[in-house]
């Protein structure tokens, strides 16, 4: 801890903190007691009181007490901890203010002891005569000591206030634990929901737009094949519409397949990846070694990893071949993609690898990239699975 000196900003801030904590604490503590006669009012006022104290702590100590979810009712321990703080803070405030004021005051009085009381005789017969040099010296020494001590005292009282606030206004250990648990659960929920959404979109497009387009292209094809006696412009229009419908169909197909291939649901990673490997414009050696299927979400992430990696290789690596291996070891799924291309892939290079890293991150997986300039590039991914 930095030692506060009497003239440092820290010392003055601590002093101000303690001195202001006294009236604020007394006021809010009093209001808390007063409102205890009308519990619903108190419950409404509590968050306001807490906010005031929180902002005081932030203003003077630069500490943000982590907020806890707004206490809903009397059964929440948080409500009682807050009340506890508001009743305790006047005590801490008074004690702190008295001690710190005494220290600073004592220091001033002591250090000024050499000034002879010229104006009038001391009103009371003092056991110590201030005109005595030795007494003056003693006063000054004590004053000096208090001057050095005061900042420590202010620091200490502020720290005491802060620790009480942390304990009573911040989340407790169990609350933090619960919070992490809730967050973990809700994150898993969000990821599963996103995955389910991807599958739903795929299904909707498959059952809707794609079938309609196929039907449209077929009818145009039929028209093109049978209506041979139409005038030239009409035939041309039909031909063009037919070609465009086919092109749209192909684009839609490529897009939908990237979303979440149906074959992944039906037959798992092996089948889905063999399709991806086959589509790559270079030979891909694929090895999938999974005796038990993992969750759909993990399968989707693994599929996305390989598909994205192969797309990147095709786009940037100028590789002649690639190797993909997926194997499961108890509760880990290892995915390895290796190519003999030009290397130089970077996590911060484009959106491709970063998006991949984010998606892997979302399921608590890890990604390792080795890609020296000149190649080769290896991507190693580990995904947790039950």
């Amino acid at each position: 801890m930095k030692v506060p000196r009497p003239w440092s900003a820290r010392a003055w801030l601590d002093t101000a903190h303690v001195m202001i904590g006294f009236p604020v604490g007394v006021l809010l503590g009093g209001l808390t007691l007063l409102l205890a006669v009308a519990p619903p009012l108190l419950r409404r006022a509590l968050p306001w009181f807490t906010r005031v104290q929180r902002s005081r702590l932030h203003a003077f100590q630069g500490v943000r007490i982590p907020p806890v979810p707004a206490p809903a009712g009397w059964r929440e321990p948080m409500t009682w901890r807050q009340i506890g703080y508001h009743l305790l803070s006047p005590v801490v405030g008074v004690a702190g203010a008295v001690l710190v004021a005494l220290a600073w005051g004592g220091a001033v009085v002591g250090l000024l002891a050499f000034l002879p009381p010229k104006l009038q005789e001391p009103p009371l017969e003092f056991a110590l005569d201030l005109r005595d040099n030795r007494v003056q010296l003693a006063f000054m020494l004590v004053g000096l000591a208090l001057l050095v001590l005061a900042p420590f005292l202010a620091r200490g009282m502020a720290a005491l206030d802060l620790s009480v606030a942390r304990a009573l206004l911040g989340p407790s250990r169990t609350e933090l634990g619960q919070r992490i648990e809730t967050l973990t659960e809700s994150r898993a929920g969000v990821i599963d929901a996103a995955d389910a959404e991807r599958r739903r979109i795929e299904r909707d497009l498959h059952d809707g737009a794609q079938q309609r387009l196929v039907s449209l292209a077929m009818n145009l094809g039929l028209a093109r094949a049978t209506l041979t006696d139409l005038p030239e412009p009409a035939r041309e229009a039909i031909e063009q519409a037919h070609e465009e419908a086919k092109q749209a169909l192909k684009e839609l197909r490529d897009f939908v397949r990237g979303l979440h291939p149906a074959v992944l649901n039906d037959q798992g990673l092996d089948a889905a990846l063999s399709g991806v490997a086959a589509r790559a414009p270079f030979p891909v050696k694929l090895r999938v070694d999974i005796e038990r299927r993992t969750t759909p979400t993990i399968e989707a992430v693994a599929f996305f990893t390989v598909s994205e990696a192969l797309t990147n290789i095709a786009k940037h690596a100028a590789a002649t071949r690639a190797e993909v291996s997926v194997r499961r070891e108890r509760d880990r799924l290892h995915v390895l993609v290796h190519d003999d291309g030009c290397g130089g892939a970077r996590m911060d290079g484009g959106t491709g690898l970063r998006g991949l890293a984010q998606r892997i991150d979302s399921v608590d997986g890890t990604l390792r990239l080795s890609s020296p300039l000149g190649g080769p590039t290896t991507i190693e991914v580990e995904l947790p699975c039950e």
């Binding site: 077929m218 086959a278 694929l286 071949r321």
Partner: protein, 218 residues
């Protein structure tokens, strides 16, 4: 020719019925789920079944599985599977269901090219094969299977068209070759893929099949 059609999209089903009727085929039953397909094929004993891969209730690979069941139950029944996406695994399963012909696996988009689609239907119905050009292209791209590396580029082209199910004459037309030359190339392919003539009439299918098996090995 008597055809049973299975397709869950009404729009597409109606369109296909029209298309098949225009080609002079008789759609004796059109169903919208896999169970219905099995029943209809049992009841009507068609010569050809055209089915979608994904069908209710689970919308996964029910149509394909129904097709495999039918191939087992009724040997000689020709089956053409239509799929939204090209999945080699499906194609391999289907082809492996019988080393004889009479099977087809096409991308749904192919129905847009009416004449070619009808041609493929006829080929399958008469015991041939129709493999989607995209599947074939994918298979050929994978140069990691040894026997294929022994093929010349021209032989590759011939194998590709052969795998799609074209006849020698059809291949000759596409590549501007004489039928004799095509025959010679095919002979070379059979030799290189180690398919002796004694195997019977369906060496063309076996060539593709062997190819599929090679690539589905780890």
């Amino acid at each position: 020719m008597r055809v049973v059609l299975a397709e869950d999209s009404v729009l597409l089903r109606e369109g296909l019925i029209r298309l098949l009727a225009a080609a002079g085929m008789e759609v004796v039953a059109a169903v919208d789920e896999a169970e219905g397909l099995l029943r209809a094929a049992e009841e009507h004993r068609p010569e050809l079944v055209v089915t979608d891969v994904r069908m209710p209730p689970t919308h996964t690979d029910e149509g394909l599985r129904a097709a495999l069941v039918l191939r087992r139950q009724q040997p000689g029944l020709a089956v053409l599977v239509l799929s939204q996406y090209v999945e080699e695994r499906y194609a391999a399963q289907l082809l492996a269901s019988a080393s004889a012909g009479g099977v087809g696996y096409l991308l749904k988009d192919r129905v847009a090219d009416v004449a070619e689609f009808i041609d493929a239907l006829r080929r399958v119905a008469s015991g041939g094969t129709a493999l989607d050009p995209e599947v074939v292209a994918q298979l050929l791209l994978r140069g990691n299977s040894d026997p294929l590396e022994r093929l010349t580029p021209r032989e590759h082209e011939v194998l590709r068209l052969m795998a799609e199910g074209r006849s020698n004459a059809g291949i000759g037309q596409s590549l501007v070759l004489s039928e004799g030359a095509v025959g010679k190339h095919i002979g070379n392919i059979f030799t290189k893929l180690d398919l002796p003539p004694a195997e019977g009439d369906h060496r063309r299918v076996l060539a593709v099949l062997q190819f599929l098996k090679i690539r589905s090995l780890p």
